[in-house]
């Protein structure tokens, strides 16, 4: 077998030692799971750019950091001060581990259970996992997962508030943080979740989130990726939807040196719907990849996606979105739109929309555009006395306005608006 990347080799070398210290070490089913994850990872290695799904995202800086030695490193984007979200319920993880001291979980309604994955692994709770055959980061996560949010909402229970989960990383760490979140909503239940990833220093964050929505369940899932500008963030979220389930995901990405937000939605029940939206704001030499796969496995299902990116300096955006409609999945509507605004001649975006349709009575659309600020509009604003810098900000805000409108929760919307405006104020 050809040699592995140095980072992959280091992971494999330290697995036996690490596994003895990771949660669930005494539990046979957990160690088997980890071992299976490691084997899958070893067979894959970290993906290089000849792997189709990773064509536009080069991981060399993560996997072979020495390869770039001697080159002048581009200056990182400015650090993002953490802007906390005031919430009654917050679960906090610091450097990959649950911090009871910083968390506030008292008073959650009956029927909502929030625990840490480390505890669940310790007491042998069996977890189901999405396929890791082709996903190196998922396999690596399975091998090394240490903690995360385990959330379950009982039948018919509705949280009339927001549950916030904050993952904070501090300081440099090469070995990575492999968080695993498992979210299960029973029939007719409903919850709003805000996932925040923040930090300072150079580290590698590899969170995996599994979402399972039973019939008539609804999850409003918000994510803020505001990692340190020196960090790597490779995230994978998998959601499965039963009949009439409603999954809404909105991701705001402003952090990390290199990030990938990969989302897979498997629509398994009739009349279920999935809405994935997001905005990414990048500058310096930041790289942000959004990769989605929406599977319509049954008839009468809906999905939509709108992603908007603002790229300045040498920033690079990637959008890969695939809608897969299975045979006999008739009466499906799937829409997808990706738009990028390039603020500099050196910023770039790569888009790859894909439709894979095996049913004949479906309505699908996709669109991808990228462009600069409208010169005519800029001049129009200036001709009324608005200075160029303010005019640019107005037009960037206007570009983002409709996608930010899709944030249904008013408090989260205010929060995301504020973060976007803060990003703009540094332009």
């Amino acid at each position: 077998m050809s040699s592995l990347t140095p980072l992959a080799q280091r992971y494999i070398d330290r697995f036996d030692t690490a596994a003895r210290q990771l949660p669930g070490a005494d539990n046979r089913s957990v160690s088997d799971l980890r071992r299976a994850g490691l084997e899958a990872f070893a067979a894959l290695d970290f993906p290089h750019r000849k792997v189709e799904e990773w064509k536009f995202t080069n991981l060399t800086a993560l996997t072979k950091p020495t390869a770039n030695e001697g080159r002048v490193a581009p200056a990182p984007a400015p650090a993002i001060p953490d802007q906390p979200f005031e919430a009654r319920f917050e679960m906090v993880f610091v450097n990959g581990r649950f911090s009871a001291a910083e968390s506030r979980l008292d008073g959650l309604p009956e029927g909502i259970s929030v625990t840490s994955l480390a505890d669940s692994l310790g007491n042998g709770t069996v977890l189901s996992f999405p396929s890791q055959e082709k996903r190196a980061f998922l396999a690596l996560n399975t091998a090394f997962m240490e903690d995360g949010l385990v959330l379950s909402v009982a039948e018919g229970v509705v949280l009339d508030d927001i549950l916030v989960v904050t993952f904070r990383s501090e300081g440099d760490q090469e070995t990575g943080r492999h968080l695993r979140n498992v979210i299960t909503l029973a029939e007719g239940s409903s919850l709003t979740l805000l996932e925040r990833h923040v930090g300072a220093g150079a580290y590698f964050s590899n969170p995996v989130t599994e979402v399972s929505l039973a019939a008539d369940a609804r999850l409003d899932h918000y994510k803020l990726q505001a990692e340190s500008p020196e960090a790597f963030h490779l995230a994978f979220t998998d959601a499965e939807l039963a009949e009439r389930a409603d999954y809404r995901n909105f991701s705001l990405s402003i952090g990390a040196k290199l990030s990938r937000n990969e989302l897979t939605t498997r629509i398994l029940g009739r009349e279920a719907e999935s809405h994935l939206n997001g905005a990414y704001l990048m500058r310096g030499s930041q790289h942000c990849d959004t990769t989605t796969l929406t599977e319509h496995r049954v008839p009468d299902t809906n999905s939509s996606q709108v992603y908007k990116g603002v790229l300045d300096d040498h920033a690079h955006g990637v959008f890969q979105g695939k809608i897969h409609i299975f045979p006999d999945a008739q009466h499906v509507a799937g829409d997808q739109l990706s738009k990028a605004l390039l603020l500099s001649d050196y910023a770039a975006v790569d888009c790859k929309p894909e439709l894979e349709i095996y049913a004949d009575d479906v309505k699908c659309s996709h669109g991808a555009t990228s462009g600069e600020l409208d010169e005519q509009a800029l001049f129009y604003l200036q001709s009324r006395g608005i200075p160029l810098a303010s005019a640019r900000k107005m037009l960037i805000e206007a570009f983002l306005a409709d996608v930010l409108e899709t944030v249904g929760n008013e408090r989260v919307k205010v929060y995301f608006d504020g973060l976007s405006r803060h990003w703009l104020s540094e332009a």
């Binding site: 010169e375 001049f379 001709s383 206007a398």
Partner: protein, 247 residues
């Protein structure tokens, strides 16, 4: 107020303005008429500071200042207002936000206090009432989905709010029916005062029935070839540009 001396400008290396001389005193309304391609729009863009137009010679002095040294927003803050031939649609920016931002930018520039949301709303409602413009326009994105007439009304509303000293009207009559034309002209006439001037650029004489100029100039091939009073406009209408330019 405005003194244009031997102004030459080119776009993409092609000379469009070939030595324009024009003086506008306070309170005067000047009309510039000319055939397509004479340089009428170029003149309005050069005066308002649009990018892509290179001034290769001459000078423009506005209230004693070198106008060409100012950025477009500075010119606006000094009281120059260009009413666009084709007002630009700006999706995602509500008209009210746009108007308030523009007004406050100009107030700030002049060292005046910015208006808060309530004060602004009161002022803008006075203006819309005066001009017979529906308030719901304020909630819509700037010019998006507006008819040609609505776009021009929006220009007039902006003019009424910003109260410029020098109004540049670039083919304000194009694409307007007679009612919309009257609204636009009425907006300009309301602002007429001994301190305020206007440069009305038009292809047809029609607009000048409603905005009566003190002087009329004929622009042909980048130069002013003839100047006169308002009767020149009628003469042009009757005889055509070719006859006048050749004369």
């Amino acid at each position: 107020m405005l003194e244009i001396k031997d102004l030459r400008a080119e776009i993409g290396g092609k000379e469009i303005l070939k030595g324009i001389n024009l003086t506008i005193n306070p309170g005067e309304i000047h009309a510039v008429m000319g055939p397509n391609g004479a340089g009428k729009s170029t003149l309005s863009y050069v005066l308002s500071g649009r990018e892509g137009y290179e001034v290769t010679g001459g000078s423009v002095t506005y209230m004693g200042e070198d106008l060409l040294a100012l950025s477009p927003d500075e010119r606006a803050c000094h009281g120059i207002f260009l009413a666009f031939q084709y007002p630009v649609e700006i999706p995602g920016v509500p008209s009210a936000t746009f108007l308030k931002t523009a007004l406050n930018a100009q107030r700030k520039f002049r060292g005046e206090e910015e208006l808060d949301a309530m004060e602004f709303l009161k002022l803008v409602r006075e203006k819309t009432a005066e001009l017979g413009i529906k308030d719901d326009m304020l909630k819509r994105a700037v010019n998006v989905g507006f008819s040609g007439g609505e776009k021009k009304r929006n220009e007039v509303l902006q003019m009424a709010l910003l109260e410029p000293k020098l109004m540049l009207l670039d083919e304000t009559d194009s694409g307007l029916d007679i009612d919309a034309l009257k609204v636009a002209a009425d907006g300009v006439n309301r602002l007429r005062s001994p301190e305020r001037s206007a440069l009305v650029i038009t292809h047809y004489q029609r607009l000048l029935d409603y905005i009566v100029p003190d002087f009329v100039h004929v622009l042909a091939d980048g130069k002013i070839v003839k100047s006169g009073d308002k009767s020149l406009a009628l003469e042009l209408e009757e005889k055509g540009y070719a006859a006048i330019s050749a004369a």
